[in-house]
Structures are given as C-alpha cells and as structure tokens.
Subunit: 344 residues, 2 copies
C-alpha cells in the first residue's frame, strides 16, 4: 500500500501548473519507486481556491487553468475570492506547496501562508525566494518548534541542487568560498554581449526568447541573484545574512569595450555571486566579474547556471545545470516533497 500524502498548492502560475503536470505524469513512478501517492486537497490562485479533502482532480484543474479559469471556479468545491492564506488555514494537508510569485519587497502573500502552515504543523515546500529572504531564521525556528519540515531546493537555481549539496553533502566542511552564476536572464544577456551585441540589443533578444521579463530590473540589476545568495548564506553557510549585507552591482552599465578588454585578456564576464569567508562570517557580493578560461564557471553559457564550493576537506566542488522553463523548478519542488515524505 502506498503512503498517502496530502498536498495544498498555493500559486497556479507557470511553476504551479508544471507541478500539476508532474503529479499526473509521474504518478506511477512516485508510487513504484517511492511508495507515495499524492492527493491534492487544496489549490489557490488569485481568483480564489478549491478545497476537497477527498482530493481534487489535477488534470481537470490544469485543463481549466489553461482555458483561463481560476481555481475559484472549480466545479462544486470552488470558492471564488478565497485567499491563499484562508486556504492554507483551512486545507487538510500534510505539506503546503508555496509557488506564488516572488515578492521581494515583503515576501507576501507567501510569507503569511508559510507561517500559517508551519503553525499548524504542516511541512512546507517553497520555490518562493521572498519569504526565505525576509524571514529565514524565523521560519526555520518555527518549523523546528512545530516538528515540521521546510524545504526550498527549488528557490536557488531550480533543479540545480545548490542548497542540497551545501547542506547534505559538504558535511562538516568549512566552506572557504562560494562562487555562483545564479541568474539565467543576465547570463543569457552576457553570453549575447560576449558575442558582440550591446546591452540593449542583448536584452531585446532575451525578451524575445522569453528569458527576460518586460521589466527586467530585478534580474539585470542583480537583485534576483543577490536574493539567492542570501538564502544560500543562511541555509548553507549558517550566517544570518540579509539583502542589505550584499554588495550588488548589475550588468546594465557594461559596454562592448568591457567585453573587448576581457576577451583580450582571455577572460569572460559573468555576473558572479560570491561569498568569501572573513572572520566569523562571509563577505557577500554580486557583480560582473571577468573569469579566466580555466575557471569552472567560465565555460557555462546562456541558460546555464552553476556553483563552485571551495572547501577544506572535500576539495573544490562544482555543479551546473542546463535547464529551461518552469518544469525543472516544479521538479525540484516534487523532489523536496518526496524527500520530506520519505525521511520524516
């Protein structure tokens, strides 16, 4: 008999819908390989929510979302206008999946939902950076108190296990330095600029490809990367870093001359996230950095992201991913769900 795990899903955008796709496509694998059967008992989007302790039909919900119909209009159990927070408080679920849009200003509404879920003893899986950046220590302490789990391997580079390698593999290590390429939008633009386009043309190309948003500020000014670095600093490096602790410089002022100079030196410019050990803490920065060709991150291009951990007892560890679209991020949430369900 498979173990039945009840899920509540907040946010039905690209990532939330991709998660529903995975629940459907991977049903057999989840049962045979992990002995798990997932029951979706609640789902919420900006239109409202649907709640049914016996289980919603993920296929139906997905088909309706794709036809432009919100969760609130789900047959019989739809609750138009019901908020994500009210849904979290009412859901009959073991795990809350938080996939609402990242709000870097105050982390809401995700933050309140996560607090409410943990306070009810529900474990939480989130792909949302906002709540973690604003309240990492509070949320992990609350989870410990309640005996619940909080997992967020999807929040820092999607399916790339940046956090998992740091937390589970680099056991007992002193991490001397971390370097990462954490933002694929800027990486795509920098790759195009290295091939000769200027910033404006490279940005237009990235927007046409769907890798940059219409308002690309958070990406190109370095804030998305800085937020991921803050989460990594808290969860892997064990320092209570905040966004204001990161020296952030974006890519908007880079010129073709900068790239020509780097090329002449045999280097390539990356928007590098760096954590460097200093005293009892780490100095954190995000800034355009020329890397020599022999640097492990220098060979990455376009959509790829990567991380390098420099350790005392496990050598230099490098990990990278080539992934596109929301599916790998949803897959990382599924990974967290399975790991929570099988190890707790």
């Amino acid at each position: 008999m498979p173990q039945r795990v009840h899920l509540a899903l907040i946010g039905l955008g690209h990532v939330g819908q991709a998660f529903l796709e995975l629940l459907i496509a991977k049903r057999d694998v989840l049962r045979t390989r992990y002995g798990l059967e997932f029951v979706l008992t609640a789902a919420a989007d900006t239109s409202g929510a649907a709640l049914d302790a016996r289980g919603l039909d993920a296929s139906l919900l997905l088909a309706r979302k794709r036809a432009g119909q919100g969760a609130g209009t789900y047959p019989e159990v739809g609750r138009p206008g019901k908020s994500a927070l009210a849904t979290t408080r009412e859901a009959v679920a073991d795990i809350l999946l938080e996939a609402s849009l990242t709000n870097l200003k105050d982390g809401e509404p995700g933050l309140s939902c996560i607090r409410a879920a943990l306070a009810r003893g529900m474990s939480v899986v989130t792909a949302n950076k906002g709540p973690l950046v604003h309240a990492y220590s509070e949320l992990t302490a609350l989870a410990r108190e309640e005996g619940a789990g909080v997992a967020f391997s999807a929040a820092v580079c999607g399916a790339l296990p940046t956090i998992n390698i740091g937390q589970r593999d680099l056991v007992a290590c002193t991490v001397e330095r971390v370097e990462g390429i954490f933002n694929s939008t800027t990486h795509y633009i920098l790759t195009a600029m290295a091939e000769g386009r200027d910033y404006a043309a490279a940005l237009r190309e990235a927007q046409a490809e769907g890798v940059a948003e219409a308002d690309p500020t958070l990406d190109v000014e370095g804030w998305d990367a800085a937020n991921k670095l803050v989460i990594l600093a808290n969860s892997v490096l064990g320092v209570p870093a905040r966004l204001s602790d990161v020296a952030v410089e974006g890519i908007t002022r880079l010129t073709p001359d900068d790239f020509a100079r780097a090329r002449a030196e045999g280097k390539v410019i990356k928007l590098l996230c760096t954590a460097e050990r200093e005293g009892t803490g780490y100095r954190l920065s995000v800034r355009p950095t020329p890397l020599g060709r022999e640097h492990p991150l220098a060979a990455l291009r376009g959509w790829q992201m990567g991380i390098v951990y420099y350790t005392d007892i496990m050598g230099i560890q490098f990990a990278a991913v080539d992934e596109r679209g929301p599916l790998p991020t949803a897959a990382a949430m599924l990974r967290d769900v399975v790991n929570l369900a099988t190890t707790r």
Copy 2:
C-alpha cells in the same frame, strides 16, 4: 546534550587514518553543527584489533599507526591477530565503517564484515567498492530487513556526490544517459598524453606523482571505473547490473596518433563511463572517447572527476570535483555517518 554515536572502523590504511584525523579535527564542528559526539569503540587492521566500549583514543591510535604499530598492539585493549570479521561481531557500535582495501575479486574481507554488521542491526558506511559490486542487492535487502542503513557515497568518486545527487536530487526523474570520468589515475595519464607524452612516459609521471600505483592494471584497464559504474547503475539507475554487463576498454593501447587525430578534430580523449537507457535497462560501457570541447566533461583535467546526468524533467545536471589524496574520501565517509545519524 549531543547525541552519542558509537563507531567501529575496519581498515586503518590511508582512508581509515584520514577518517581518524577528521574525527579529531572536526570534533567541535560535529558537536555544534550536528549535535553529534562520536565514540570509536573498535578499530581493526591486518595486525589485529582494539576494542573498548568506553571509547578508544583516536589520537593515540593514529600516532601509533604512523609509528608503524598496528591496532592489535594498542595498550591494554589491543587484541593481536583478531580478525576484522571477529571485531565486527564483537564491537559495541551503531555504525560500522568499512575502509579496508578494495578487493574486486570477491569483495572480502569487507563483504563478510558488512553482512555481519547488518545482521546485527548495525548501519554500515563503506568506501569499499568490492562488496557493493558483488552483493549490492543482497546487502541493501538485508539492511531493509534489519532496519539498518547502508551508505557508500565515498565509493564512487570520493567526495563528489555522484550517488547522492542521483538518489536524492534527481527524484522521479527518468535518467536517459549518464556520462562520467570516474578514475583520476587514467584521467591524469590522459591529460599528460594530450600534452604530448606517450603512454609509458605518462604512466611513469603518474607513478612518480603517486596518482598511479606500481601495478596500475585495475585503473588503466578500466576496471576501477567499471566497478564504480556498476555501483551507480544499481543504486541510482535501479538496474541489477554486474561487472560482466559492462563493455570495458582501457587506455593502454592509445597512441600519440589517437591524440593528434582528436586534437585535429577539436576533441579531447577521456576514459568515459556511459550508461545509456535502452528498453527497460541501460547499456553500460567504459572506453576512451573523444569529446568535443563543448562537452561539460571536456574541460576537466588531471586529478578531477565528474559526472553528467541527462534527465527528462531536471535538465542536464553536471557535477565535478577537484580533490586529491585520501582525505576527501574519508570526509565522504564522515558525511555518510552524519547523515545516517541525523536522519534515522
């Protein structure tokens, strides 16, 4: 109060001694970061064993080993001539650490020790490929029956988390293909050959550097890499592969002409381990393979090892390590011990 975990260590060669070093050097980190205190209650080498349920002095044991004195001569509790198997049967321990020399013929004496430990309900951490290659299914089934854990993240590329990424990160993935550079001896030799040396000169250089053994057969004929591939196939890909299922070709017949031809095509020759999905299983091979410069493994050199997982829902995942000597392998054993102690 830290959780006290009792350990029995079989094998006091380079890896076993490095593990003792880590127990000493990381004592405070293990206590503060993981809440664990390790007590070494038994240690065995080819000279005999030392057993003390109150705990052996790791520093003293290490100092004596370095002075050429075996475990059997340890003051008061030394038992000259006592076998590893008898030690395993008698040890008062939660976890057996198996770090004896890899014997690829029949996996002994490690295999019998692991069987004996699991049968007593002890969990096992091993860096030894032999027992896993010979009896993977038997040992994991026995562990399940006894409610014990078996961890071996050190057995496939030391500190590089090849197995952990496959088992814990690529959750619910279909792995279409795996490619790896799993043997640093041959990688070092191939790097030297790519720079112009012939096989004999490159081998001599590797032996002088201590990266190749006096009898390098297991490495240069591809068997060490093939054994690691078999362990990965069993533990990550879920297929009951045996060594005879792997098409193995070593590097001894490569000539400077092969390297010149590869270079002319913009390629670099690596001893590539490959698992390619085919029907319900995987086709396994180890053979010298020219890789284009854009291949993620092409940039690795010398001591480095790496792996690429091609997945359906998590993109292409790449991980590599730059590590030397026995310390990272011992650190990987410590990682397994901590993960077993904190998640079980």
